[in-house]
């Protein structure tokens, strides 16, 4: 029994067709034996040649072995065939004609036109590169804007027409994400209930970020001057307004995902800067109450929270596609008023100590924990993206069908062909590239507390 036979008898391969191997003497005999040709075989060979000739000629033309005028271009190899000009009279009339009418169009061969397919992909990538260049380097602001739009449209079409290849997250990450989504659904259900005046909600969506920042700064000033009751009222009002007037933001559109730029980062910054201001005020209060270490730790926890939040926002700008997290917002919305009211009811210089930790210091601990989670989250997704980068680069090198689109924002999309679809970009230079849609989808109004 040969090694090949043993392999064929292994589980899962036993039913495979045993292929001819050139080592076997009987196969060799089958190839070289019986050199005689009878009339039936000769007729069959002629018929095979006549049927398949147009297709073969196309391959020879593509490879440059046959010129378009019908002459053989052998490259002057010794022993090669003669020029067709010497043998043209030999060709029967039907040889150069397309296949007979009853065969119909050769759709299968059109699908096999791999060269054309490669050219299309190459032209597409070149156009995307050119758009990137114009988007970044063009001296004209108008051209930069149009190039960004056209690029977004092209990438949107790519993503819409292809499957994206993502690495599934770790099981623990999936469980945490599921819990976070459940919390988010609950928040959105609560936000949808109750009588709410739409005008007020719209007003809050427009100026909410400024109002919250002003309230946070006012809280900082009040805490600094030890006006604890007014500070608690201010912080509580800030939390109640954020929770009560929250309106669910529309999910990020595909175009927005592809472009990567999220204008909501300003809201994120103001929100976390306000939190940091309140935590700083609590830290000052702790210092004045004699807990200097806890005061410094709480103030720095606020600063760390801002840095972590901005790191996460920056990661989102670079295509890490971090999903929105609900735990941190809900926790900070609850913890800050609780800590401030706790400082009023149970001052740290009195009974406001729980296991040696002042209540205001607890808020700092929560903020620090959230910051650590944000940083860990950003790094985890950075590692995932790095693996995706590697896989995408590998696919780009090996699979001719894969399109790997690198945007200026760092998005890498590893795409696989998914069915038939229209061309992404016009390959002819005559029609200009049209950008479809407008910027309104890129700048959706986000509700307060959306980050």
């Amino acid at each position: 029994m040969t090694a090949h036979d043993r392999t064929a008898n292994e589980p899962g391969t036993a039913h495979l067709r045993v292929c001819p191997r050139p080592d076997d003497a009987d196969v060799a005999a089958a190839v070289v034996a019986d050199p005689h040709l009878d009339r039936a075989t000769a007729a069959r060979l002629r018929d095979t040649s006549r049927r398949t000739r147009p297709r073969i000629e196309r391959y020879l033309l593509a490879a440059g072995h046959l010129s378009a005028t019908g002459s053989a271009s052998d490259g002057g190899r010794p022993g090669g065939g003669r020029r067709r000009s010497t043998v043209v009279p030999l060709a029967p009339a039907g040889r150069a004609t397309p296949p007979v009418a009853d065969e119909g169009p050769d759709v299968v061969d059109q699908r096999r036109d791999l060269t054309r397919r490669d050219q299309v992909i190459l032209a597409l990538v070149e156009q995307i590169d050119e758009l990137h260049r114009r988007r970044v380097d063009s001296p004209s602001a108008r051209e930069r804007q149009i190039a960004a739009k056209a690029l977004g449209e092209a990438l949107y079409r790519i993503v819409a027409g292809y499957q994206e290849d993502y690495e599934p997250p770790h099981r623990a990450v999936l469980a945490l994400r599921r819990a976070d989504r459940a919390l988010g659904r609950a928040c959105e259900r609560l936000a949808a209930r109750g009588p709410r005046r739409q005008a007020l909600v719209r007003w809050w969506a427009r100026v909410g970020q400024w109002v919250r920042l002003l309230l946070a700064v006012a809280s900082l000033v009040l805490l600094w001057h030890q006006v604890l009751v007014a500070a608690a009222v201010t912080v509580g009002a800030r939390a109640l307004l954020s929770a009560g007037l929250y309106s669910p933001a529309p999910p990020p559109s595909r175009r927005q995902q592809v472009l990567g730029y999220d204008p909501g980062w300003v809201v994120v910054f103001y929100t976390h800067a306000g939190d940091a201001a309140i935590l700083t005020g609590l830290g000052v209060g702790l210092h004045m109450a004699g807990h200097t270490v806890w005061g410094i730790a709480t103030a720095f926890a606020g600063l760390f929270g801002v840095i972590a939040a901005m790191l996460r926002a920056l990661s989102g700008q670079h295509g890490f596609r971090l999903e929105r997290c609900w735990f941190d917002r809900v926790a900070m919305t609850v913890v800050l008023p609780t800590a401030t009211i706790g400082a009023v009811l149970a001052p740290p210089e009195g009974h406001g100590m729980v296991a040696g930790v002042p209540l205001a210091g607890g808020a700092g601990l929560v903020a620090a924990f959230i910051g650590v989670c944000e940083v860990g989250r950003a790094f985890y997704y950075a590692l995932v993206r790095r693996r995706l980068f590697r896989r995408a680069a590998e696919a780009q090198g090996v699979m001719s069908d894969a399109i790997v689109a690198h945007t200026a924002d760092g998005i890498v999309v590893n795409l696989r062909r998914d069915g038939t679809r229209p061309e992404l970009l016009p390959l002819d230079p005559a029609p200009p590239l049209q950008a479809v849609g407008d910027d309104s989808v890129l700048d959706p109004e986000r509700g307060p507390g959306s980050r």
């Binding site: 043993r6 593509a62 490879a63 065939g81």
Partner: protein, 257 residues
């Protein structure tokens, strides 16, 4: 030790199919497919064919061992040996049996007589046509994965793992670039000795192997690009196997088996 020098008229005789390789490929094609030509075609190449027959008989008389076959039959044996047989290991799985590949070679020779294109290019185009057929490709991949020299199954691999691996290979093979890479892998691993033998023989530049160089031109790629694709494909294949079966290496396990 003294070496005896052979006289010029004492030429070492070789087998007829090797001796007739001294003819041009064009002449060999004319001899091999003469029965396939129609009357009009035969009349048009009559003079050429007559010269090829005369040259073939002269070569056989001078360089070949004794044979009962005529010069046309010897030419067909030549194509069987040096065009069909070496390609059998490469593209054999794309054909139903060996006779079909032999007939493909003869059709290529027939086309070469009429078109003037080198028979090797004609054959490569026909082989490429086969490879491009997606149905045949899916059939052929099952033969490729059954070969232990290309990639072997670990002893612990069950039916599901093998099936999963086969589907994965199907996917890899579905891309245009992987097929010649796989074929080139096959060629290097299975035909290294034969490639060297053919390079030394009198039929150098006349054999019909599916070479990387020829294949790259047919695909309108540079040979270096195809070589790099082959290297990447090999690396990817190994990585796929390790990922699918969660194994480090299969060599020692196969040796143990």
């Amino acid at each position: 030790m003294s070496k005896t020098k052979a006289r010029p008229d004492q030429v070492e005789r070789v087998s007829p199919e090797l001796a007739i390789a001294r003819l041009d490929l064009r002449q060999l094609c004319l001899l091999a497919v003469n029965p396939v030509l129609t009357a009009a075609e035969r009349q048009a190449v009559g003079a050429e064919h007559a010269r090829a027959v005369a040259e073939g008989e002269r070569v056989l008389d001078r360089y070949a061992t004794a044979t009962d076959l005529g010069v046309e039959e010897v030419a067909r044996v030549f194509f069987g040996f040096y065009h069909a047989f070496p390609n059998l290991g490469l593209v054999g799985p794309f054909f139903d049996d060996a006779a079909e590949l032999r007939e493909t070679v003869l059709v290529a020779a027939y086309d070469s007589v009429l078109s003037g294109v080198d028979v090797r290019h004609e054959l490569h185009a026909r082989l490429w046509d086969r490879i491009c057929d997606e149905d045949r490709r899916a059939e052929a991949v099952r033969c490729y994965i059954a070969d232990r020299q290309l990639h072997s199954f670990p002893p612990s691999a069950g039916r599901e793992a093998v099936e999963r691996y086969r589907r994965r290979i199907d996917t890899l093979m579905a891309t245009a670039e992987c097929v010649p890479a796989l074929l080139a892998t096959w060629a290097i691993e299975r035909h290294r000795d034969r490639l060297q033998d053919l390079a030394k023989a009198h039929v150098k530049d006349k054999h019909g192997l599916l070479e990387l160089r020829a294949m790259a031109r047919l695909m309108r790629m540079k040979p270096n690009t195809l070589t790099r694709a082959l290297i990447r494909f090999r690396a990817r294949l190994g990585e796929e196997m390790r990922l699918l079966w969660n194994i480090e290496k299969t060599d020692h396990e196969d040796d143990e088996r």
